[in-house]
Each structure stands twice: as structure tokens, then as C-alpha cells.
């Protein structure tokens, strides 16, 4: 057992708890401030559409860069070198899809949810049902994955139990969303993005100094420290099946454009131009961050080496970055080492909080705005009722996520659920949204069959994938793709096409013009509220 893990299991890390408390204090102060400004459903779901482009860019970055990115990718790069970096590339390039195809159109044609965009041209209630299924599936699996990840990490970094970690995370997440709505969520995400970028930049600079200032030294030293040698800088260590690599890449690059908590962020800015600006800021921040994950993963490999981290407890390498920070600060047991470790732990905690809050509010939008008001009440709810429905929905979603994470426990397969979230986003949400915006012939039946094909094929292919059946000789059906995207994304598009051509419904073709004019010009777009 490594000194680090010994320390964690010895008891509560006081320094980490202190810095955690500071982070929590700041975010609760933000929530208190935001709660007084949240007086309508537009405030609750979109922060009154008063977030500037730059702020939203930071918030998107904060919403997107999960603990899986920060700790997970650093760990994957630590273990697999090049194959870990594949994720970084996909996660970034994905934002071109968002920028070119969706950001401005979402802002122009949407109100609170993805379904708002679809319902301009499709029959509103079935379209809302389809979009809500896609949104809630993605948000639920992603949320549970993040909660389980949070429990494991906080347990390791702070020394408190898994269950308590999950419950604490859940309580803070629900406080932000229920009391402070989107305004509090946005600022928690901005604070997190600033903390994460600052900490990562400082660590990267210190790593580069340690290896002699030349980034190339990082590559050679990491390679030489790796048991894989030259293969560490080549593909193939993690993904041995090329089709799987392609499938992963497709899922990443199209899945991001179907993540409801990311798309929802475009409703918080006053204009389409601000939506565009925010993606460019997000690309800058996220790109810089993912470049630096290389320094973290290679740094851990070059400076700490292979032995300490390769314990059975940390197979995913999630502790590569914290261990690196501890080493850079002076090593285990020194004040500097403890301080750096505590800071990275606090950053990881803030990272988790910002992401789960964003997920909860997007799920709340789908439940309150689409299912309750749009489908059950047929749009008759008042503004105040809808805001309170949003709060109740957030509570329901949050409590379910906490309970599932606690019951499922540490054994719950996190990568399965994250993979599923991206696969459903890419295979169900993205095809329906893209075709609604671009294909005149598309109709309600097409949206329903497309979402059904996408959701069902993604779930089935993940359930039979080898990652879900460890140790039992792989998948029972002999299916050996870890990532379903290469099959489920085409199936999602196929479902959209099939439902459309089988249906005689052509009424939505007329309304295609409405959605197109709205989406391209912003005519009739929701306006920002002024306080």
C-alpha cells in the first residue's frame, strides 16, 4: 500500500477538510446571493438569460470538465500514454460540432430545454416526451456516475467514508440548484473552472521545471519510465481493437453535442452572438486544459514512476494527479506535499460539484418544463408554478441519484455509465436535434423512432459489452466492442429516417420554415429579463 493511501485510510485529512470548507463556503455564499435573484422560471432555468458570453464560456468549461477529465484522463495518460490522450482530443474537437451546428440555433429557438427547439415544428407533446427520455437518460446515468466517482475520490482524498462523501456531495449540489437555480449553478461552474485552470497551470509549470524546462524531456522521460517503452507514445495500449477506437472517437465527437447540460447553457446568454462567443471561450479553456492533462499524466509517469501508483485500489489511475501534486509539493508527509494534495483534492471536489449541479438542473428542466408542464399540464402552468416544479424536480432527481449511488456503492461501474451517457447523447439526442434543424421532411414519428432506436441500441450494446462482464470471459454474446457509437449512432439516424418515411405526416414540413427562420435569425427568440 502506498504512503498516500495509508495516509488516507489513517483518518480525516485536516488540511484537505479546511480547504474543502473554504470552497463550500464560497459556493454557499454564491447560492445565497443567487437565491434572492431567482424569482421566475426564466431565472431558475436560465439565470434570466443574463450571463455574458465570456462568463458562459467559463461555465461551459466548468460544466464539461468533470472529475473524470481531470483525474481520469490524467490517469489514463499515466497508464496508457497516447491512448489516454485520445480522449482529450475527442473531447475538444467535439466543440466544433457544437459551435457550427447547435450553439446559436439553440439560443435562438430554445427556451429552457432541447424539447423547446423540437416543438417549434414537431407535435409538441410527443416531441417533448422523446426529448425528455433522451435528456433524462443521459442526465441520470451521467449523474450517478459522477456521484459514485465523487464518493470514491472524496473518500480517498479526505478520509471520510464513501456513503458520507456521496451524501455531502448531494446535499451541496441540491442546495445550489434548489435555492440558487441556474445563476448559482453558473457561478459555481465559473469558480470551479478558474480553480481548475489555475491549479492545472501551476502544476504543469512545476512539472516542466522539474524535467528541465523542455516539454520534449517530459515525453522522453515518461517513455523511459514506462514499462512499455516506445509503445507508450504510440496507439494501442488501451484499445487493441481498431473498430473500438473509431467507435469511441465517434461517440465523443458527436455525444458532446447531445449532452443536455451543455446545450442548456446556451439558454443562459442574452443573444446568439453571446452563445457563439461562449463556445469560443470554452474551446480555449478546454483545449488548454486537455493539453495540460498530458503534462499531468506524463509528469506522474516520469517523476513518480510506476511502482507506487500501481496498487490494486487505483486501477483507473485516478490518483495520478493528486499523487503528482503531493510529489511536486515536497513529497508525502511534508507540509508542502500535504498542502498541494489538499488543494488538488479541493479542486477535484469543486469540479464534481459544478458538474453534478449542471446535470441536476438539466434533468429538472426536462421533468418540470417538458414532462410536467408540457405534457401533463399542456402548457397551462403559471410561471411561478413552473419554477417551483423545477425545484421539486431537482429534489426528486437529486435524491434518486444519491440513493442509487449509496446503494450501488463503490462497485458500481462508472465507466459503463459515462459511456452510456455519451452513447445515448450521440445516438438519440444529437440525430433528432440535427435533423429537426436541417431536414425539411423530418416529422414527429421520425423523432420518436430515432430516439427509441438510439436509446435502446446504445443501452443494449453497452449491456452486452465486455466492460460490463469483467472476469467472466467477456460478453456472454461474444460482443467485444466497449463503445457502441459506431453501431448506435447510425441506428439513431436510421430510426429518424425510417419513422419519417413510414409516416404520412407532412404537416411539420410547413413548420420547418418557422424553426429555420427562428434558429437562423433569432426572430421571436426569448429575451433576456432585466432585474
Amino acid at each position: 500500500m502506498s504512503p498516500f493511501l495509508a495516509q488516507a485510510s489513517d483518518g480525516v485529512n485536516g488540511l484537505a477538510v479546511g480547504i474543502f470548507a473554504l470552497v463550500v463556503g464560497i459556493t454557499l455564499a454564491i447560492t445565497f446571493w443567487a437565491s434572492k435573484k431567482t424569482t421566475s422560471s426564466t431565472d431558475f432555468f436560465t439565470a434570466g438569460r443574463g450571463i455574458t458570453g465570456r462568463q458562459n464560456g467559463f461555465a461551459i468549461a466548468g460544466d464539461y470538465m468533470s472529475a473524470a477529465s481531470f483525474l481520469g484522463i490524467a490517469g489514463l495518460i499515466y497508464y496508457f500514454g497516447f491512448d489516454g490522450f485520445l480522449y482529450s482530443v475527442g473531447f475538444l474537437v467535439a466543440f466544433l460540432t457544437v459551435l457550427f451546428l447547435l450553439a446559436e440555433r439553440m439560443r435562438n429557438a430554445g427556451k429552457f430545454t432541447i424539447a423547446d427547439v423540437l416543438s417549434h415544428r414537431l407535435n409538441a407533446r410527443p416531441a417533448r416526451a422523446a426529448a425528455a427520455v433522451g435528456t433524462l437518460t443521459v442526465a441520470a446515468f451521467y449523474l450517478i456516475a459522477q456521484m459514485v466517482g465523487a464518493g470514491v475520490l472524496i473518500q480517498a482524498l479526505m478520509g471520510i467514508s464513501f456513503q458520507l462523501s456521496v451524501v455531502l456531495t448531494g446535499i451541496f449540489m441540491l442546495s445550489y440548484v434548489i435555492f440558487g437555480g441556474m445563476l448559482a449553478t453558473t457561478w459555481v461552474q465559473i469558480v470551479k473552472a478558474v480553480m481548475l485552470m489555475t491549479a492545472t497551470t501551476i502544476l504543469t509549470i512545476l512539472v516542466l521545471i522539474k524535467v528541465g524546462g523542455n516539454p520534449l524531456n517530459l515525453f522522453t522521460q515518461a517513455r523511459d519510465a514506462s514499462p512499455e517503452g516506445a509503445r507508450y507514445l504510440a496507439p494501442g495500449l488501451n484499445y487493441t481493437n481498431p473498430i473500438d477506437t473509431v467507435s469511441l472517437g465517434l461517440g465523443l465527437v458527436l455525444g458532446t453535442a447531445g449532452l443536455p447540460h451543455i446545450l442548456m447553457r446556451f439558454f443562459t446568454v442574452p443573444t446568439a452572438k453571446a452563445a457563439r462567443t461562449s463556445v469560443v471561450w470554452a474551446i480555449g479553456l478546454i483545449g488548454a486544459f486537455y493539453l495540460m492533462t498530458t503534462a499531468l499524466g506524463f509528469g506522474a509517469r516520469a517523476l513518480i514512476g510506476g511502482t507506487e501508483l500501481a496498487s490494486g485500489i487505483d486501477k483507473a489511475g485516478n490518483l495520478a494527479a493528486p499523487r503528482l501534486a503531493e510529489f511536486i509539493g515536497g513529497g508525502a508527509g511534508t507540509f508542502g506535499g500535504d498542502l498541494f494534495l489538499a488543494i488538488i483534492a479541493a479542486v477535484a471536489f469543486a469540479t464534481i460539484l459544478a458538474v453534478v449541479a449542471g446535470l441536476v438542473i438539466s434533468a429538472s428542466g426536462a421533468m418540470a418544463h417538458d414532462v410536467w408542464n408540457g405534457i401533463v399540464k399542456r402548457g397551462t402552468a403559471t410561471d411561478k408554478e413552473e419554477m417551483w416544479a423545477g425545484r421539486v424536480a431537482a429534489l426528486i432527481v437529486g435524491v434518486i441519484a444519491i440513493v442509487v449511488a449509496v446503494i450501488g456503492g463503490e462497485g458500481l461501474n462508472v465507466s459503463f455509465m459515462v459511456g452510456l451517457a455519451f452513447a445515448v447523447a450521440a445516438s438519440a439526442n444529437f440525430p433528432a436535434l440535427l435533423l429537426a434543424l436541417t431536414w425539411r421532411r423530418f416529422n414527429t414519428t421520425g423523432a420518436l423512432t430515432g430516439v427509441a432506436f438510439g436509446v435502446i441500441s446504445a443501452i443494449l450494446l453497452i449491456v452486452i459489452s465486455p466492460g460490463v462482464w469483467p472476469g467472466s470471459g467477456g460478453s456472454p454474446l461474444g460482443w467485444d466492442l466497449k463503445n457502441p457509437g459506431i453501431v448506435s449512432i447510425p441506428l439513431g439516424f436510421f430510426g429518424c429516417w425510417l419513422g419519417t418515411v413510414l409516416s404520412s405526416d407532412s404537416s411539420t414540413q410547413d413548420k420547418f420554415d418557422e424553426l429555420r427562420v427562428r434558429a437562423e435569425t433569432g426572430l421571436g427568440a426569448e429575451e433576456a429579463v432585466s432585474h
Binding site: L96, L216, G379, T444, D505
Partner: protein
């Protein structure tokens, strides 16, 4: 569920005076100004999207099928072809994002302002019955609707996106 022309069940009514009727949406869509906006955007976005997907998928395919080539040394010790290819994806993403912003500012935004001005004219001019609909709008609420009611303010004549923002650098 496929009954045509289901009234929208949106939670809130659209903002006052900014929503033309169906026939007017179609009229706006058929203006040369709007057509030019859509065509210019398509002419930029489609090739750009095809390019970035191609470059990214090529990278992924080579990572899958050309492991040895991707792992071979590139000019200096420590750098591999694969890493240079990966870094080129970062450069491409930054470059295309900035190019899109520039293109939007110089070309798409002015075209959008013109399309909106044209839409405002349409909303304010009386529409003779029979001239509104293109073929295929039976049952649309459009024919007599237009926006002939002078009490109904037309769509915003100015680009709504020109307010609020000063931070797009």
C-alpha cells in the same frame, strides 16, 4: 399523434409581437435575404464540418490501424507522428473556431440583420389573400392572418443580437 396542425402547447406564449403567423414565417424563409443567409452559412459550415470530421476520423483511423506509423519518431527524439497528429487537432479546433467567429462577424451577422429588416417589412405590409401561401399550406393559420393587424408590432426590425454584448473578443 400525427394530427396535423396541433396547436403549440408551449409553456409560455412567445414574446409579445415577435411571432409572425405561419404564412409569414414561410414568407420570411422565401425572401432572397434569408435565402442568402442560409446559403452562405451552409457554404461555409458544410465544408468546414466535413473537413474537421475527416481530419479527426483520419486521426482516429490511423490510431486504430497504423499503430507503428503513428508511433514512429517525428524529427526529434520523444515526439511521435501520433502526437504531432493529435496536436494538429488542437490547432485545427482553435483555428476553425476563430475562423467561424470571424466569418460570422464579417458575413453572417450583416446578412442576418438584412434578413431581419426584410422580415420586419413583411410583417408590416398588408397581405392580399391568396398571395401568402406557397403550395402546401392548406389548413395553415396563415392565409388571412399575415400580420395585417396594425396593432401587432412586427418582428424586431433590428438585429437583437447587437445589444448586450461587448465581450466577443
Amino acid at each position: 399523434m400525427d394530427t396535423p396542425d396541433t396547436p403549440p402547447t408551449d409553456a409560455a406564449p412567445p414574446p409579445r409581437g415577435t411571432t409572425p403567423e405561419v404564412a409569414t414565417w414561410q414568407q420570411v424563409a422565401e425572401t432572397p435575404e434569408f435565402q442568402e443567409l442560409v446559403q452562405k452559412k451552409r457554404a461555409w459550415i458544410v465544408p468546414a464540418t466535413v473537413f474537421f470530421l475527416f481530419w479527426y476520423l483520419l486521426f482516429i483511423l490511423m490510431a486504430g490501424y497504423a499503430e507503428d506509423f503513428m508511433g514512429s519518431e517525428f524529427l526529434v527524439d520523444g515526439l511521435t507522428v501520433g502526437y504531432v497528429f493529435a496536436l494538429s487537432q488542437f490547432v485545427m479546433t482553435f483555428g476553425l473556431a476563430l475562423a467561424y467567429v470571424r466569418r460570422s462577424r464579417d458575413v453572417f451577422d450583416p446578412l442576418r440583420v438584412r434578413a431581419l429588416e426584410r422580415a420586419a417589412e413583411i410583417a408590416n405590409e398588408p397581405i392580399a389573400p391568396g398571395t401568402t401561401g406557397t403550395a402546401g399550406t392548406p389548413g395553415a393559420r396563415g392565409t388571412a392572418a399575415g400580420s395585417t393587424d396594425p396593432a401587432t408590432p412586427g418582428p424586431h426590425p433590428t438585429d437583437p443580437t447587437d445589444h448586450h454584448e461587448g465581450d466577443h473578443r
